[in-house]
Symmetry: C2
Subunit: 263 residues, 2 copies
């Protein structure tokens, strides 16, 4: 299964001002594509910290890196500087991106969103991409996304505002990702175990996972209580849905039989 | 300012099954103590992946590491194994922790939370701590927290269930943390700029931060729109509240004067 790493950039996350919901949303989407999110990291928004996490992700074996945040016009939006440093290329004005940013601010000016349509240095900054990168049109905001293809793998850089990040993912990242990951299938099923005690359930899960490889079983963490019934999520991913479905129902059947008291 | 790193452990986060709210909550609490969260990372729940992130955190200069999750009875709760590997000590049954776990399950049995009060190997596992660690009583659940003091810094390991993590932090981590970090003060203030355009605001923020060091100004990301008014958060931390308050109001005054059109 291909490994994906997510790098969420923005000091507001580290200060506890913003809850990072982007990584959660991306993790769910990527898992559903049959790939595996191997790590999520929030570095400080400094060039070297960002570059270091990108290099580490490739060293960890990631074939896809997705960054979110730090793509805007302000001085602390340093994602593309960090990406360029990690990749070892300079930042350069991309003519297509520059035209995109220019047209966006003209549109925002016409709509009364900004008082001035001109390409200030801050706005121009959003068109300075790592050399060789492909800009991705942002369906909502002004900052283009970025796609970089390297020997080790690919990097997608997306804006941090969820309402820009999500449509950019759906329209520009998803089609490329499906191709990179291969057509994958992923299924998950929940099972109510009727058990109250996680430590008892742990033994059963372990047995089922050893017997049926390729099925992942995770008990959902919960509180202790007399009225608790622990739930587990069984999941599997692979090339073909039919094959996965068989494996999952086999695991579910085995676990259910273990949960049923024999008399 | 002392550097803190947060390591959130649990494959359910990487699968997109659970939104990691613990790190956000901890980041806010730590920032308010006048310390700086330098990195948040979610490694896969494998011993070597966890150990690696702990070593990296110390290498990054972290003086405090807080881990959440992976402290329970199931086979994929591997946090303490990872911590022990990073620290270079074996896991050992801690007599105090074992007694704590035993008494917890006796209590849970009396309350009807579990069907069996006995110390199964899965339950005993929660009392196997890195050699030399101090167990911290969990006010709610069965798994003790862990405190380790090293030359490089300290490690706190907390459970992942928020309703166990939060009271354990308040009761056992906070007093120790205050001592480690020194008595610190932190203030933040929000300012409505009346501006619609982040790229215009960016220049002003840059000027103020250069003029008044020690004040951090962050514009809150938002959408584009004719009705938008951008907000910024000004923050500062230090030893004494009076000194911080002066610095903050100086920065706020300067920014406000820049925002007021002169005629």
């Amino acid at each position: 299964m291909k490994r994906v790493e997510i790098i969420a950039i923005g000091r507001e996350i580290l200060r506890g001002q913003t809850l990072d919901t982007n990584s959660h949303w991306l993790a769910r989407r990527i898992t559903a594509l049959g790939a595996r999110v191997g790590r999520i990291v929030v570095p400080d928004d400094e060039v070297e910290a960002i570059a270091q996490e990108i290099r580490r992700a490739f060293r960890n074996g990631a074939e896809v890196i997705i960054t979110t945040g730090g793509m805007g016009p302000t001085f602390d939006d340093r994602t593309l500087e960090g990406v360029a440093a990690a990749v070892g290329v300079p930042l350069e004005i991309d003519p297509w991106a520059l035209d995109f940013v220019r047209r966006r601010y003209e549109e925002f000016y016409r709509k009364g969103f900004v008082d001035d349509p001109s390409l200030t240095p801050q706005r121009e900054k959003m068109a300075r991409l790592p050399k060789g990168a492909t800009p991705l049109p942002n369906p909502v905001g002004a900052a283009p996304g970025v796609f970089i293809k390297m020997e080790e793998g690919v990097i997608f850089s997306l804006p941090g505002v969820p309402r820009e990040m999500k449509p950019l993912f759906e329209e520009e990242v998803l089609p490329r990702l499906k191709e990179i990951l291969g057509v994958g299938a992923y299924l998950e099923e929940e099972l109510d175990t009727g058990l109250k005690d996680e430590s008892a359930l742990a033994q059963l899960i372990e047995k089922v996972m050893k017997k049926i490889p390729g099925v992942y079983i995770k008990s959902k963490p919960t509180r202790f209580g007399a009225d608790v019934s622990l739930k587990v999520v069984l999941s599997a991913a692979g090339k073909e849905e039919a094959e996965i479905r068989t494996r999952l129902s086999e695991a579910k059947g085995l676990l259910t039989s273990m949960l049923t008291p024999s008399d």
